[in-house]
């Protein structure tokens, strides 16, 4: 392994600009003559818009225009769409309601944009927004997903009776029923997977800039996938043809899924820019972000697991109601279906699985993918059932897991997925050793002496990453292919630019992609630059989410590098006056087999461009190659997280006293970056388990609408984490990579709740397990305060 090659903990190339304050995030960019957009948003969760009077707002100082849904419609700007078709079990297509970028006659959640003010300064735009007079007729609202389907619930969209978008299922219901009939024990749980607000620390932003001379639009945008944004805004919204729309995603300050989607604000920034003839800038306030960034999770589930007399799992069934909010966001339909039920087998051999999912509209912010997207929800169901099952049957939870692990690969689950490789025993064993599982009983006694309840919780999770084989997702309803592209441009002096359709917003691609190139071509890592996030530079790509950049994006890069090497060998053959078949390439040097003749990388690259040694008819000058890579399977990272907690009996406060994570991500390019991804994922999972939760009141007002009310995990909520790996290579891609981005967020919630419920001796606990929730659970279980 070289100091900068695959497997090295290379310090990040991108860091200098971030630690010196010289990064370029969207809000750091200003266009000459730009004006500012400020949105007037509905204060009501559900209301008919009777009228909008913009007269006095338009007369305010600095105001160029006040625009509403009427103008948007007049200009034939199309609706936002959900790009993944789900069919109900009766065969009917999902009920997608119109989602205009500015509300047209009706507001469906608090924060729904109703009008936009464009003014010379942001302060002027804000001042004028207060003068926009909107007359609302307030309608009853519904925010709870289970309540939304009930008879008499407020109806949000005419197309969706009972607010039901689809009633989907996966698996064989009859076979599962038969399995349950033969069971020795059945574990049953009612689970709420709490609604989360992604809260990347950089708020979303957009600058739209229309050039009337060429008829082209440019959008600077906080997006994880600029090409997908361009495709949707061109093909569905109809702003401009793709070749007349450039989307630039500069430095982006975190995404976690929330910056995948195409939102109203960027559409309005582009459209308004043409309307007023000036660049239009919009930057979300944090309070605004709470009301307009897609939220995550929000499932209500009943789940059951059947065991035989030996504790072998016979079957699993689950019924979930998924809250998709007021409109269907870009990929919302796929999250509680193909990204959820397909993971219900966990790491276990489960002969029969049946999962039903109803997706519903409510008067809340739209819900879509958030770190893990469906997989954390599935893992929580499976890992709670297994843990509680073990407790009910009086078995060791680790032993019960081990008995049910899948041990032979490939393994076809009853829910579509075909696991290709893994060693679940290995990660469980390593984690138990690192966590000193054997010493837990003593630690529990020690805690009890200090008046604390100690608990330990496992989560042996699996996820499907490397999203995704295009044919497979196409057959399941996805509107796009999920391959990735890469281009390698070699310069005459031998330095290299990599163009990738992936996009980094914290993942460190400028380093890891360069490591691969440095490793392969034997050139210094500083001679490799990574270009991403601009549709005018990179031909096409599907962006970054679902841990796809390593497994899919880097596989495309390997293919392009193969082509570069093949072409360079041809050039070297001419340069060294040898047969092409005799040229060997190693450590940045081309040599002729069996001789001492060789040429350095830089000699060959220069000769590729000066083209003095070969005729153009014989070999094209230049050295630039591109490739598209379409994966043949998902990848299946898996591992074991063990959480140990101490609960204060008096206050219900939970302290995480130890965290052990052993993950199998396949081949690791940069262990430092991978560990960082695991840390961050665990923090988000711990946040979900202990403190985060979006709360709406009955009228549909978001009560947790700022960092004052929504509890973000802070440094003192979290412990230092013991993070390690085991490795089975992924057989389906050239580098053997599985992906690491979501693991922590997927594994953590179940590990935390399993640990707390182990400590307090009752399963009746809902996330977030705040001090008051744990205290109440203790009270309810009558373990307060001396019974412990």
């Amino acid at each position: 392994m070289s100091a900068t090659g695959i497997g090295a903990a290379v310090r990040r190339k991108e860091d200098r600009r971030f630690i010196t304050g010289t990064g370029h995030y969207t809000d750091d960019i200003n266009r000459p003559g730009q004006v500012f957009a400020y949105f007037v948003r509905s204060p009501h969760a559900h209301a008919t818009i009777r009228s909008i009077d913009v007269k006095s707002a338009t007369a305010m100082p600095g105001v160029l225009a006040v625009l509403t849904g009427a103008e948007l419609g007049a200009d034939k700007i199309g609706n936002l769409i959900c790009g993944w078709m789900i069919h109900s079990k009766d065969g009917s297509p999902m009920k997608m309601a119109a989602h205009p970028a500015l509300a047209n006659g009706k507001a469906c959640h608090v924060g729904d944009p109703v009008a936009v003010v464009l003014a010379t300064t942001l302060a002027q735009a804000r001042d004028a927004a207060e003068k926009v007079k909107v007359e609302y007729a307030v309608l009853p609202a519904v925010t709870d997903p289970a309540a939304a389907q009930k008879q008499g619930a407020p109806q949000i969209h005419d197309v969706a009776a009972n607010n039901t978008i689809y009633q989907w299922h996966l698996g064989d219901a009859k076979a599962v029923d038969a399995a349950f009939k033969s069971a020795n024990h059945v574990t049953k749980l009612d689970i709420v997977n709490n609604r989360l607000v992604p809260n990347a620390i950089e708020p979303r932003a957009a600058i739209g800039d229309y050039d009337s001379g060429t008829g082209t639009f440019t959008l600077w945008n906080t997006t994880q996938n600029p090409h997908v944004a361009r495709l949707v805004i061109a093909a569905f919204v109809g702003m401009a043809p793709e070749n007349k729309l450039r989307v630039i995603a500069p430095d982006v300050g975190g995404g976690f899924g929330s910056k995948i989607f195409i939102y109203p604000e960027e559409v309005v920034a582009l459209w308004a820019s043409k309307r007023v003839g000036r660049p239009v800038k919009w930057v979300a306030d944090r309070s605004e972000a709470f009301l307009c960034d897609a939220h995550g999770r929000d499932h209500v589930t009943h789940a059951e697991m059947a065991f035989d007399v030996d504790g072998k799992i016979l079957g699993l069934r689950a019924k979930t109601i998924a809250n998709l909010g007021a409109y269907m966001s870009t990929f919302s339909s796929s999250v509680p279906t193909y990204l959820y039920a397909t993971l219900m087998s966990g790491q276990y051999e489960i002969p029969q699985i049946y999962c039903e999912v109803d997706a519903v509209y409510t008067n809340t912010v739209p819900v879509d993918a958030y770190r893990g997207a469906g997989r954390p929800e599935a893992t929580f169901v499976v890992e709670r059932l297994v843990e509680v099952g073990a407790r009910e049957m009086g078995q060791d939870p680790a032993e019960l897991r081990r008995r049910n692990f899948i041990k032979k690969f490939p393994h076809q689950t009853p829910v579509i997925m075909n696991y290709d490789a893994g060693d679940y025993n290995a990660s469980l064993k390593k984690a138990m050793d690192l966590a000193d599982y054997k010493g837990f009983a003593k630690r529990k006694r020690d805690s009890a002496r200090n008046g604390k309840l100690r608990g330990i919780g496992f989560s042996t999770y699996i996820e499907a990453c490397g999203i995704a084989p295009s044919q497979a997702v196409g057959s399941l309803g996805c509107g796009v292919g999920l391959w990735e592209s890469a281009e390698v441009r070699v310069n005459p002096t031998g330095s290299v630019e990599i163009l990738t359709g992936c996009h980094a917003h914290g993942q460190g691609h400028e380093t890891t992609f360069a490591q691969l190139v440095s490793d392969r071509l034997g050139i210094p890592i500083d001679n490799v630059s990574v270009v991403h996030g601009d549709t005018d530079k990179v031909q096409f790509g599907m962006g970054t989410y679902g841990s796809r950049s390593g497994a899919v994006g880097m596989s495309a890069l390997v293919k392009a590098l193969d082509k570069v090497e093949a072409k360079a060998k041809k050039v070297a053959a001419h340069l060294l006056e040898a047969a092409e078949g005799d040229i060997e390439f190693k450590d940045g040097k081309f040599s002729v087999a069996g001789t001492d003749k060789s040429a350095a990388w830089g000699d060959v690259t220069l000769n590729a461009y000066i083209a003095h040694k070969f005729a153009g008819q014989e070999l094209e000058p230049g050295l630039k190659e591109g490739a598209f890579y379409d994966p043949t399977n998902f990848t299946f990272p898996a591992g074991c997280h063990i959480c140990e907690v101490e609960v204060d009996i008096e206050t219900g406060n939970t302290e995480i006293v130890a965290w052990t994570a052993v993950d199998d991500f396949g081949v690791v390019i940069n262990p430092m970056i991978v560990e960082g991804q695991v840390h961050g994922g665990i923090a988000q999972g711990v946040g979900q388990a202990l403190c985060e939760g979006a709360v709406y009141d009955k009228e549909g007002q978001l009560l947790t609408g700022s960092f004052m009310d929504y509890c973000m995990p802070r440094a003192d909520h979290l412990p230092s984490m013991n993070v390690d790996t085991t490795v089975t290579k992924c057989p389906s891609n050239p580098l053997g990579i599985k992906g690491c981005g979501e693991a922590g967020a997927i594994a953590a919630p179940a590990a935390v709740i399993n640990a707390i419920t182990d400590a307090i001796g009752t399963e009746d606990l809902t996330m977030p397990a705040t001090s008051s929730a744990v205290w109440l659970a203790l009270q309810k279980a009558n373990r307060m305060p001396h019974a412990a």
């Binding site: 860091d15 950089e202 944090r286 993942q507 960082g676 960092f707 973000m712």
Partner: protein
Amino acid sequence: MAANTAAVSLTVNGKPVTAEVDPRTLLVQLLREHLRLTGTHVGCDTSQCGACVVHVNGKATKSCTVLALQLGGANVLTIEGLAAPDGPLHPMQEAFRENHGLQCGYCTPGMIMTAVDMVRRKGNDLDEHTIREELEGNICRCTGYHNIVKAIAAGARAMRGTSAAKAAE
């Protein structure tokens, strides 16, 4: 610019500056919009996230919570002033890089400015508990804080005996 403006003169990163601002202009707006020092970020509107932390007269201050006009004669240090462009990094910046204490980079300038102030107040030997408690006003969504805590401890040690701590004041 609105007609109702006032002038403020202060020192930013060692340079005297005078700006004509709307009275409601916040320090962070003065830095980002008037002086184009965009390293100081805005991550919230309730003074919670700490992405906007700068030093005012040597003390860590949330620049989203101070009016520019309050700062006549003040000495402000931002992330851009912590080390000379293209020069060696401040030990705390170096520690964040070395310990992978950042991912997306958005909270990082505020984290580093907070950390340097933490060393000024608490010294060069910072234990994990102290660092975690002291970070209560800074939110990071990427790192889980693990490597930020490591970076601050290492940066604090590296600042011992250097002029960096003094320079920051």
